[in-house]
């Protein structure tokens, strides 16, 4: 469903990576690994269409993601290092804005319950810990209909139970023919993971 061809990216004249080729099928999990600074987050941002590569292209179902951008964006959910949560609002409000509707509040609440957040759902976000905030951001996965999940280190700051909740969620998404592309420094307990070490593309 997703195919990257010969991607090259440079910053300030310095090549971050080049010759990046991979493909991602439906129902598949691709785990990007590599040392710090080798361009994992940059690659993910290219795949979200936020950044453009200096060379090469990304195709989704055989079509460049920039030619039919809105169609592509409807199909992805991206959760990066910046969690896009307003610290003055409660997690519930934050997620309701992200879900773009206050009518579906009870669904959002249900999703937060599954993430183990029902106790803090009405506190302002600045009272929450880093791990709890990460859980709030990852609750978007429960609410998403997207086929492709792009996750930048979803397990950073999460505790063991949080990791296992997300792993279960990913497993179910994969069984429903969804795809996941994520970066992580820790190993997953899931089967059928395709790992790519990004250092082969680094200079």
């Amino acid at each position: 469903m997703l195919q990257a061809e010969d991607l090259m990216f440079e910053r300030n004249g310095c090549t971050i990576f080049s010759g990046v080729n991979f493909h991602l099928n439906e129902g598949e999990l691709l785990l990007l690994q590599g040392i710090n600074g080798c361009g994992k987050s940059t690659l993910l941002r290219i795949l979200t269409s936020l950044m453009r590569p200096h060379q090469g292209f990304v195709n989704s179902y055989g079509e460049n993601i920039h030619t039919n951008r809105y169609e592509y964006l409807r199909n992805i959910t991206f959760i990066g290092h910046q969690l896009a949560l307003k610290s003055a609002l409660s997690p519930l409000d934050n997620l309701c804005w992200a879900a773009s509707s206050s009518k579906e509040r009870q669904y959002v609440f249900q999703a937060m319950d599954e993430m183990g957040l029902s106790a803090v759902s009405r506190l302002p976000c600045y009272r929450l810990s880093a791990g709890q905030l990460k859980r709030v951001a990852l609750t978007r996965l429960f609410l998403s209909n997207a086929k492709l999940w792009l996750l930048d280190e979803p397990f950073a700051a999460l505790d063991f139970s949080g990791v296992s909740i997300i792993e279960k969620l990913i497993e179910r998404h994969l069984s429903q023919n969804g795809s996941v592309l994520m970066t992580s420094h820790q190993d997953l307990s899931l089967l059928n993971i395709r790992k790519i070490d990004m250092s082969i593309w680094c200079r």
Partner: protein
């Protein structure tokens, strides 16, 4: 598990309401521009002579300078917070035309700064002993002019947002674009005080506002898409 069909058509209204909700939670920062305007105006009778004739002659210009400065100090916030916490990133990858949320944010900025400034401007006029026939034109010109300031300000704010704290760059780029408004805005009040037909400068401001409504949201969308690359 909720297999919920989430509406993804996040439009003008959602972002408008979101900004208002955020403003309510940061009440102090929201009211700062209006308070700033009042503080500036209240200093004038102290600094200048107590002669009402000379005060009322500078009143139209001074009201507009304070509106402009108050708008300038608040416009940077329109995108920086969203940029810092990643909301802007999520806005850019939501499957919708960017113009809608941007217009929602700008409209909210106007409702939170321009509208209260206009409604409270008679109090300023009282301090500056502006003749009574200048009140209505003043309020109308601030309503129209501040909307223009919010729209044009959002263009420059989107240009400087990815520079981190743009600092002095924002005022430098904005002041030339604000000039027509300060000229015609103070002219509107001036004409009214001197019993001339003040509809002409107000109409020019209306024209500038229409132009800004048509161009600015599209410009902001294009700028955000192309500058937020790093």
């Amino acid at each position: 598990m909720c297999s919920v069909k989430i509406r993804r058509d996040i439009g003008f209204y959602v972002y408008f309401r979101r900004e208002l909700a955020l403003a309510r939670s940061a009440f102090g920062a929201t009211t700062a521009p209006v308070l700033f305007m009042f503080m500036g105006v209240s200093l004038i009778p102290l600094a200048l002579s107590s002669d009402t004739a000379s005060q009322s002659s500078i009143a139209p210009g001074f009201v507009w300078i304070m509106v402009l400065l108050a708008s300038l100090m608040s416009i940077e916030r329109i995108f920086t917070f969203d940029y810092d916490d990643g909301s802007l990133e999520q806005m850019l990858i939501s499957p919708q035309l960017l113009v809608q949320p941007i217009f929602g944010k700008v409209a909210a900025h106007w409702v939170l700064t321009g509208l209260p400034m206009s409604l409270s401007s008679p109090m300023m006029a009282l301090v500056l002993s502006l003749p009574a026939e200048g009140y209505l034109p003043m309020m109308l010109s601030i309503i129209i002019g501040s909307a223009y300031l919010s729209l044009v300000g959002s263009v420059c704010a989107s240009l400087t947002v990815s520079l981190g704290r743009g600092g002095f760059l924002l005022p430098i780029t904005l002041i030339p674009l604000y000039m027509p408004i300060i000229i015609f805005g103070s002219a509107t009040i001036d004409f009214a005080v001197n019993s001339m037909d003040w509809s002409f400068p107000l109409a020019v401001m209306g024209f500038l506002l229409c132009l800004a409504i048509a161009i600015c949201p599209i410009a902001v969308a294009a700028i955000l898409r192309s500058t937020l690359l790093f």
